[in-house]
Symmetry: C2
């Protein structure tokens, strides 16, 4: 019996289907060590328990001093300062920087009381054991990372629903957040059907073929952040298939059936899926090749997918349907698609010729396409990368990109 399907464009079909999903993620939460949470989806917003850095820090190796003591300094007319102490790494400076004084400080060291700037070693010369010449005027705040410059106390630094990347793991631990609540992986039931299908470890008899779809789909589910639950191979019998589908529906967050290859087997899949609950089958047939005889539905809060039996069709359609569904069921708010994105720069990115630059940017969707907004920040600040969606590369033979230029944003 030929099928007469009302074909729906795949993008529209998936959008319509996702709209019928439960609004809250149906999965449980668990609390795990932040250091092991790579790739997991955050189930709580993170508020910073304190400012980062917690104290003002030097951004270079140099001398902490009062900027006003260097005004007008030049190689021909240097400022002279007395070096009265060295800031110990990991400790607090002893005493205060007075007028005409400077403390030796290393990158990352605490800025002592009284000082408001750091001059780089390269702009100084030691003239006596505890006296330096400064050849350049320092501006207030120069080479200083202020307390709270990366993150303020109480600031929301991560939203629930983000998938944790290496920089978020680092950011969490920088704040002492060693345990985080994440969503558990959605359980995706995978049922393969077909009287001709045997498990891979079995030697097929003539007319039989080994199961492929259970394993390609399970791998795709795993890679997409889901937990595949293999329901095995079912014969093309309505009662057996319906029973298995009901059990999967009761215990999993999504049910996927790869139909037998024939039209009658596909019709049986559609009938079984339509009996699992309301609203049932939403889409039967996609205007896509490969993958036309695809079924999308939902029964109660559990999305249903009927995939074609052909392994190539099944895998291609699974990438279009299961991947966004697993993200949604697992609580992930997918604002930015995966992969390289072409975007328009909002401001100039300057760069020196002869140097490769990697500039963190945040992406914003507009009706005219993606905008890339550089996240400028001193290179010590881990939350620069937490705020960024990717990097823009300025190659060595370019001297930067102009505002309005189209650039490639690499996910990072």
């Amino acid at each position: 019996m030929p099928e007469f399907l009302r074909l729906v464009p795949p993008k529209e079909a998936v959008a319509r289907w996702l709209q019928a999903f439960p609004t809250e993620p149906p999965v449980e939460r668990e609390t795990i060590p932040a250091a092991e949470a790579l790739g997991r989806v955050l189930a709580q917003p993170i508020l910073s328990p304190h400012a980062l850095p917690a104290f003002p820090r030097a951004n270079v190796d140099g001398y902490a001093l009062r900027a006003e003591n260097t005004f007008g300094a030049s190689p021909s007319l240097p400022s002279y300062l007395r070096v009265t102490a060295e800031v110990p790494m990991g400790g607090t400076p002893s005493g205060e920087v007075g007028l005409g004084e400077a403390f030796l400080v290393h990158t990352g060291g605490m800025i002592p009381e009284g000082a408001n700037a750091v001059v780089m070693l390269e702009d100084t010369q030691t003239v006596r054991p505890s006296e330096i010449e400064v050849y350049r005027p320092a501006a207030q705040g120069q080479n200083v990372i202020a307390a709270g410059e990366d993150v303020e106390a109480g600031e929301k630094v991560m939203d629930a629903g983000i998938r944790l990347r290496p920089q978020e793991i680092g950011g969490l631990l920088a704040l002492g957040v060693t345990q985080v609540a994440v969503y558990m992986r959605p359980r995706v039931a995978i049922l393969s059907t077909g009287d001709e299908v045997v498990p891979p470890e079995v030697e097929p008899r003539p007319g039989q073929v080994r199961d492929i779809n259970s394993f390609t789909l399970a791998s795709l589910v795993t890679r997409s952040g889901g937990a595949p639950i293999l329901g095995g191979i079912l014969p093309d019998r309505f009662d057996v298939l319906e029973q298995a589908a009901r059990e999967a529906h009761a215990s999993c967050h999504m049910v996927v059936i790869t139909a037998g290859s024939s039209a009658s087997a596909r019709d049986m899949t559609a009938s079984v899926l339509s009996r699992l609950g309301e609203p049932g089958v939403l889409v039967h047939g996609l205007s896509v090749k490969p993958g036309k005889p695809t079924i999308l539905g939902i029964a109660g809060d559990v999305p249903l997918v009927g995939l074609p039996g052909n392994p190539v069709s099944a895998l291609v359609v699974a990438a279009l349907t299961l991947v966004p569904a697993i993200a949604r069921l697992g609580g992930a708010k997918v604002a930015i698609p995966a992969g390289r994105i072409r975007a328009r720069l909002t401001v100039n990115i300057p760069s020196e010729a002869g140097r490769d630059d990697y500039v963190p940017v945040r992406l914003e969707a507009t009706p005219e396409g993606w905008l890339a907004e550089p996240v400028f920040g001193k290179s010590n600040l881990i939350f620069t990368l937490v705020r960024a969606d990717g990097l823009v590369h300025v190659p060595a033979d370019a001297t930067g990109w102009a505002a309005g230029a189209l650039v490639d944003v690499e996910p990072f």
Copy 2:
């Protein structure tokens, strides 16, 4: 003391460094279930133990017959055939298709002896219980997947060094290859240094900061297929650092040290790394921002990396250096870079308007850029996807892409 580095462009530096790597992967092999091998690197080529499919199969629902019995058939002058049997799914046909005869066959069913083509149900009409009219002539081999059309017996279907995707998992199991030899993950030692650095679970005293780099780098290593071995936080003392580096060198496949932030701490890292073995430090200083004070070296067969202490610099440079290094140490032959690739089509891809097409393509690097060669194949053939590097999308409003067109290839 200011640093005077001879800066090397990052691409050149990484290429020079990778050239000094051991030619054979230094990691051990292990044999694991193919169904659990997603993302692992194959350590052996795979030869097909048998043809796939093992028997000729119908590609549609229809009637298996002798093509010559339908020559000249049309709606006004149909061919009449007697339906003498139905091919059971998963079984062998009973008997042979004789002259003027046809067997009912379902998609995936075995082609009976005597038949050499399948006409689709849609091109037939049942006129009596066991007689059909055929309205269209069938060509020899039409709607038949020949034995061995996907894979021949003894054919090399996968090379050692590929990273297994869902389609390779399916392809392995389709051939009954349920166990595979894969490379073990390279062990990457990560040592953080800095007198000011404390573990994340510790409440930092004034002047102290929590360790970030150990965890951002461990996450990146994990995501790239390596096994991070955290060596903890070391004080800025030469003897302690050297001892820890020697132990890491003896037990791991790569040693990564994130230097303390100051120039003197970075110098100490360089000295320690240069004492671990020959040839020692190869590159000291990259013309890249962030990440200039990076060290690349190798001692014996163990690559060495000195990363800047700043978390942003460390993570950006780690993506440039550790990721290709882990691939190489783990036996992965990375021919195709990750992410979307713009490539030139070698031949036309036809497509119907109103339908989204996804066409598997193989990528080839040429001096003029990437070429995309479509892997045409019937949609049943899983090795179509194994041979492909990605998919080209033909949207519904296009009627295909012409040879020579630049298209986006999505990794698949």
